[in-house]
Symmetry: C2
Subunit: 666 residues, 2 copies
């Protein structure tokens, strides 16, 4: 549980580091790769710091957490609490959107050691007159440390004098064991063998939306009012009221840049495009321009800015997809041929996944000798859009670019635009995903899409929220994307879509859907693949957004529940609950003050009704053992009164595959 | 399983570190506190190194372990094996008694990446003529790296030429996929993005006895031939043949220095000593001298050297107990009063554990302003005895002295006397014990004495052998000491002594007993304490070493088993086995080559016969599933034939509470 952080800054001018370092400070956590990378927070979140602190012999040790905002020069001291096995703990609240620095200090507390001895001697009825004189020396030393606080200094000096008078030993011992003296000595007593932990560790503080965001992805070109015509930014403006009603606050577009025509892909990723085929937006660049230009059919920069402004009025931010790769027609190819990989036949190496070839895409060669200029130009792509007002980027395949590139680019961009948010689309191996998050990406795509059973979810949620990843990796859960139509959505029908929505929206405070494929329950795959047939990546689509089976109202309800319940606005409060039926996945989410407590139960089987008992951790949640409490299903509006831990639930996936219970009691 | 270590040193002159570090090397293990402390080995042991190594994109990564002896300048390269989740592993054998240094390097292997692509294209029947030209460039670059190996360079150049000839594509592709070229390119191919791990890590190599030793502790003064007289080093000489027969190789004496007379303790730690009371050997120093002197009643330095020489003939080393504390009569008190803590009444602070006072002992004050001289003098105590021939020290209460003191003293002593062994008698909190081991102590007392149930032992052995402690903390198991008579030995009778002996001697390759209290099954405590009544610490004892209930032959047998079975000469091969009866603790120990396999079963209940099934991991031990195998009890000499994993055992503690089965099969 968080403690109130100390407000006052230490009065101590400087604590000199001891020559003989009797105090050991080990295993300070959180500490990512020995402090090489920061931990991440948003304002309002706590950082809980633990450290193993101890010394030789039997003297009392004291430990404090030292914290400052990066711009501050003075440390704030927060006392740490000692637990078992020399483990000390303290936490601090992030109050400002600025990076913080923290470390741990420890020392030997001679007065506390002395006081413990005094109590023992006193209880054993022994003569303590000599001991009082020992303490007098400690008090005298402390009195020297008192700067400015004259009254405190006077008391210390007076008591030091009193302690030397053997006749007053009873009164002196009483003072010696008293709280006021103890507190004074904590403040001013000599810090013997004072030592700081070797590293200063960093908290990177991002804005709120880095932790809590609700994404909607769409292809603007499919939203023309006229069937078969290329949609525009203007067309998108009319979608904003409905997207806002549905509860989305990030509207994310695939690349909006000019699309190459050389080797353009046709429908269903075919090698030859018809004259009307619009091409994949990820084949970036043509003679009109590259990553800083806008595809002419979408509109002008002015149209785009108008859209951003209109979106802002609905509380929606536009997110851009930045894919650092080029169509053969991209201006870079002629202007900077050295940024590509050349083959012995004087052609540029196109993208491939042997034996598959993607001749419409030239990867950028980061091993280029001209890397510095390349890096500056690519950084400038972000800066260009930031200057137009964009603050959120979804980065395509960041794992195919060197990690130091992202470290440097995101680091530099963030200095000038601290509100920027980068989402890493890295569907790759665990360490690579983690390294990108460590290196600066604010949010990350995850394996959510491929987790199925309750067991798999429990394991994955444990990994995300109960291991070191919790400190630096913010998940963003996507049930589908234009690239991914997972098997359960191909086969599970509408109940599966509802189930995945509830899971994504309640397990992770950042989630998104690719629409309207999602809310229209689009299920048909390209045969044998986890991809959509007739993918929107290569075609204009003509969506019937209001088809009768659409899930818009359900999504609206779920997002409304997210907005109304702060317990769903963070990912880190996830707590698994037991259930008697392995098809029922149950977990709770509660705010730190328990002012908002939710219990979510999801039927993981989209075909069958399942029932069973779920276990509410009534003690942990503060309900207590012997109390009736109300559970109010925020989806169905049903209300029940429950008692003690195990209670009955039944979920028919064709009605609704999930409960989101709000728990209250008198 | 260890691999054969590569013999050849890399031919590469120097691998330049890449500017753009695409390769990540993380979490190199073993690595104690970020490399602040070394891991420990003796010659013949392996170090298994793991690291997470990966890069961006989809290129093949290669990783090597770099190893050298500290005196060498050139690294030896050992290829690492890639496991799941980007975890790489390699191990190396410690062949010399010298410290080793290791680290990990990784790079991108362009040829291997290319070859993987070639295979895919070839299998898909695609044109690879251009690919062969790409490879030709890689081969040409490699040919430049060939230093001295002219023939290799000629082949590379020839094949590079061949690869550019389109007519020979079938032959070229065949060569391109061949093993000889692959091996050549592993040796000479360009190491793109080459990078070394940030730290160089150290292996501290000690001599064999640091890992495998059998200790016997006795008070020389109790071994006079004449009853009531003070024993001498000469008296001890006649004990050597029997101690050697019993299988001990370290004979450890409590402090042999002059004993103070001021506030000398009498029998049973009483405050007043009679004129004949010899005093505690831990009250070090009187007018005859201090830590470099010998208590006159034990003999002269010459007698002591004679004893060492006689012991050596029996394969026994003498270990000295160094207790850095002084009796009030110690010469330091007058010569170096600044090394003690002075109280306001101008007296020196004696030892205390309030409200208990130990006025016969002055602790040394390591916070002294004269610390540097103090440290030099105390270091010189070790050097003095090392010069007399002593190589093993048991250090009394090292945890009450500052850690940096031990780091420096042991570090310095070890430079000049690499054969030295320090045993830390630190019965204290876990982190403190661990820190002393990290700081240089070769062996450590443990919590063995206070572990009772099978569950407790399994947990503790896991901690010692399967966590990071395994790398730097060598346990030394003691069933009893002059200070500790644990409850199970007070109540369990002779079976308990036999049980504890087998546990200590087979779980840990370092173990010791305080004799002859142990083999005479001395059980009577000081009332209400875990200490002996009439403790030898304060009295001369008159031992009847051959009392009929003595365990000497049993100890002889157990130590003989240790000597004959290399599986018991290391602690790290401990493997727990399941058993159906929780009173039966079963574990196996086997050499790495499985040439020596033991299965130990101990009845943990000293009162009752217990029987049950124990599970032999037949696959893991290489026996195989469908084979009969022999188990030969090396204690009782009984032999059985067993089949498959679960087999029956029965142990009557009054006959013998343990089996030590040697497992063999045809």
């Amino acid at each position: 549980m968080p403690t109130k952080t100390a407000k006052k800054t230490s009065r101590r001018k400087s604590a000199t580091v001891a020559v003989l370092q009797r105090v050991v400070i080990e295993d300070v956590k959180p500490q990512i790769d020995g402090g090489a990378f920061p931990v991440k927070r948003v304002p309002g979140e706590y950082v809980t710091v633990t450290a193993t602190v101890y010394a030789d012999a039997h003297d009392d040790v004291e430990a404090v957490l030292l914290v400052r905002r990066r711009s501050e020069t003075q440390w704030r001291e927060i006392p740490m609490r000692r637990g078992i096995n020399d483990l000390w703990t303290a936490d601090f609240l992030i109050e400002h959107q600025e990076d913080y620095v923290y470390t741990v200090a420890g020392w030997i507390d001679e007065f506390s050691t002395w006081r413990r001895k005094l109590v023992k001697l006193w209880e054993a009825g022994q003569d303590v007159r000599l001991e009082m004189k020992v303490a007098a020396q400690l008090l005298d030393t402390a009195a020297v440390n008192v700067n400015g606080s004259l009254q405190d200094g006077r008391w210390l000096k007076k008591w030091a004098r009193d302690f030397t008078r053997e006749g007053d030993v009873f009164a002196s011992a009483y003072i010696g064991m008293s709280r006021p003296l103890f507190d004074l000595m904590k403040r001013f007593g000599e810090r013997k063998s004072y030592r700081r932990f070797t590293h200063e560790l960093t908290v990177r503080v991002d804005r709120q939306r880095a932790l809590y965001s609700t994404w909607y992805e769409l292809f603007p070109r499919s939203w023309s009012l006229t069937q078969g015509q290329h949609g525009t930014f203007k067309d998108c403006e009319r979608l904003l009221p409905e997207l806002a009603r549905m509860g989305f606050d990030v509207l994310y577009f695939p690349p909006i840049h000019p699309i190459g025509s050389t080797h353009r892909k046709g429908g269903n990723n075919s090698l030859t495009a018809g004259v009307t085929d619009p091409g994949s937006p990820w084949a970036v660049g043509n003679t009109d321009g590259g990553h800083k230009a806008i595809h002419a059919q979408l509109g002008t920069l002015k149209d785009f800015k108008n859209l951003m402004a209109a979106a802002a009025k609905h509380g929606i931010e536009i997110a851009l997809d930045i894919a650092f790769q080029c169509s053969p027609d991209h201006p870079y190819v002629k202007q900077h041929p050295q940024w590509f990989k050349w083959r012995p036949d004087k052609t540029i190496q196109y993208a491939e996944n042997p034996p598959k070839k993607y001749e419409d895409i030239y990867p950028i060669n980061f091993d280029s000798d001209d890397y510095q200029n390349l890096k500056e130009e690519l950084k400038d792509v972000f800066v260009y859009w930031l200057k137009q007002g964009i603050r959120i980027f979804r980065v395509d395949n960041p794992h195919t670019k060197p990690f130091p590139f992202w470290d440097e680019v995101i680091g530099a961009v963030r200095e000038d635009f601290p509100d920027v948010i980068f989402l890493a689309e890295a569907f790759t191996r665990p360490h690579v995903m983690q390294r990108l998050a460590k290196g600066g990406f604010h949010q990350s795509y995850t394996y959510f899409t491929w987790r199925n059973s309750r067991h798999e979810f429990r394991e994955y949620m444990h990994e995300l929220t109960r291991t070191e990843m919790r400190e630096y990796f913010r998940p963003n859960f996507w049930p589908n994307t234009p690239d991914i139509l997972p098997p359960h959505l191909q086969h599970g029908g509408r109940p599966a879509f509802m189930q995945r929505l509830v899971l994504a929206a309640t397990l992770s405070s950042n989630y998104g859907i690719y629409g309207p494929a999602f809310e229209l329950c689009l299920w048909e795959p390209f045969p044998g693949k986890e991809e959509y047939v007739h993918s929107e990546k290569y075609e204009l689509k003509d969506w019937d957004w209001d088809a009768p089976w659409n899930l818009k109202d359900f999504i609206t309800r779920i997002n409304r529940i997210r907005r109304d319940n702060p317990a769903l606005q963070t990912t880190w409060n996830y707590g698994p609950c037991e259930s008697s039926n392995e098809n029922l996945y149950c977990y709770h989410k509660a705010t730190a003050d328990r002012g908002n407590i939710l219990l979510i139960v999801v039927n993981m089987d989209p075909y069958q009704t399942h029932s069973g008992q779920v276990c509410v951790p009534v003690e942990e949640l503060g309900i207590g053992w012997n109390r009736h409490y109300r559970v109010h299903d925020l989806i169905s509006n049903d209300r029940y009164t429950w008692y003690r831990d195990w209670n009955y639930v039944e979920l028919d996936p064709f009605r609704c595959p999930a409960h989101i219970f709000k728990i209250t009691w008198d």
